[in-house]
Subunit: 351 residues, 2 copies
Amino acid sequence: MKHNEITSFLNDHHADAAWITTPLNVYYLTGYLSEPHERLFSLLITKDGEETLFCPKMEVQEAKNAGFKGNIVGYLDTESAFDLIEQRTYKTFAIESEHLSVKRLREIEHAFNVEKILDIDQVLKDLRNVKTTDEINTLHEAAKYADLAIQAGVEKLTEGITEIEVLNHIETTMKQHGISKMSFDTMVLFGDHAAAPHGTPGDRKLQKDEYVLFDLGVIYKGYCSDITRTIPFGNPSDKAKEIYNIVLDANKQAIAMIKPGAKISDCDKVARDIISNAGYGDFFPHRLGHGLGLSVHEFPDISSSNQDEFKEGMVLTVEPGIYVPDVAGVRIEDDIVVTQEGHKILTGYEK
Amino acid sequence: MKHNEITSFLNDHHADAAWITTPLNVYYLTGYLSEPHERLFSLLITKDGEETLFCPKMEVQEAKNAGFKGNIVGYLDTESAFDLIEQRTYKTFAIESEHLSVKRLREIEHAFNVEKILDIDQVLKDLRNVKTTDEINTLHEAAKYADLAIQAGVEKLTEGITEIEVLNHIETTMKQHGISKMSFDTMVLFGDHAAAPHGTPGDRKLQKDEYVLFDLGVIYKGYCSDITRTIPFGNPSDKAKEIYNIVLDANKQAIAMIKPGAKISDCDKVARDIISNAGYGDFFPHRLGHGLGLSVHEFPDISSSNQDEFKEGMVLTVEPGIYVPDVAGVRIEDDIVVTQEGHKILTGYEK
């Protein structure tokens, strides 16, 4: 099915072959996940559907074990993979232009006598954009582990503890549950430190009556979760509570409008209007959310510039935030799946 | 100093500006580390030395806090960063061709009226290739934590334990020592499972009289370590022990020849000849090692195709291995710094 979409694209566009290079896209199409670092790791798909995986020789067996049935060109570090295959010509060649480096493009143009380049990025995005039932079930499990992680963090909160100590407790707890990898660097930020939306946890000590911002996710069977909760420790200032309630309202109202056919840009607008009308428009500097799947940031982009509609099977985050320097930073984020009737929230920790 | 090398390169090559996009290279030059995901994050350096960082608006303050003193263009997710600056023309433009994507190149060519592209990759590699005393001290600390991690793993070995359980114990122990991030996915592989050089730890249970392969590293103050030890649990077969001793000999002899002026390809050859002469040449499918620094795989490449010489201040791994399917996999890896007189081994765990 997935592969048919690609060969159809190639035939529709009179292209001879596609060169898939994003490791997660190669995984999606082959079942084999690899982190090639600077090494060549690509899946070639011809318009006739013939598939060839180019990978380091030492990974050939792992790729077979993962169930990949196509051809494999395994190369040594001292070899050029292109020297190991017969001369081929693919005049019109589809690439992932957002991933392929300029240098690799030059190599490929030379190796395959390419005359014309097409972009295939969107085909892969559209494919991964709509999840299967199995994928959604896995994402739901990943979201449940994220709930557990928030709970572990909240239980550890005590006056004087540092952000890093809480973070370590969360990740240790996750390991005890068999989760070996978080989907991004776990964020635990206290009080005004949370006013930097991408802040780094450090030795800041927890004080009474401030908010704690947790932003974290796990990788479960390859799929990512991503949750943010902002939790009061004691009784934060009225100003901070006011900000919290505005963000919570934006989160809930934006989620409420999600259903197949609704415009994605409108979802961002619902949240942004609530925050702007409350006078905090300048303090919400990021998009409302992003798609979630094998990657923690993937299609669809939940922003004012996305004119697409929600489709059944999309999985995404809704994460409005307000960050007022020296006062407070609040973000509340849930993972949502678009269902036939509307939507379902995958993250369950109380807000 | 670093910046002078770049402006000198630009002036020597009659180039108007450079566009640095590898996040670790931006960090190296600005002191600000960011993981931009798909967002634009670049440092523009003109031939006159003017620097402009392009980053998401919500990271502007963090970049300043990190000590960056140049111009900053902070953009919202809904904006194009190039629309926020006055029209500029950089006819000859230097890029990191191994990192910059084809799509971004098209955007830049348009935004800056570029007519000619130059590659600046090698300038950055050469800069990062030779470490300062401070960098070497930090890498030494990172290596000591890697030793500690191996020790934690070895102490946990007991019949019937799984690879994942040992792995979790190692990473939990590291967190207790304040290490929040490993430099890559920790590898713990038992017996014949280690015969896949890039295998994934799983539920394989430890049996008596087999080898355990640990490959791991930590990130300490941004710098990476990378160590492999293959440790006997009980009394492995004579065949496995024979393989171990060949690899150990290759590791030691290759390290012994490292000094300023020695050829890097010869270092690979020393190890490869020992393994080939013992009849295992086909079972050593990867290069001997790689550079180590802010990235766990960086310049120099320690392989038969690298005709460069070792220079004082380089830090690298030496990691010969033999992988015989269904029999055993052995790899022994150390981190080495090239000193004025020869070399110093940073990793200390017994071999």
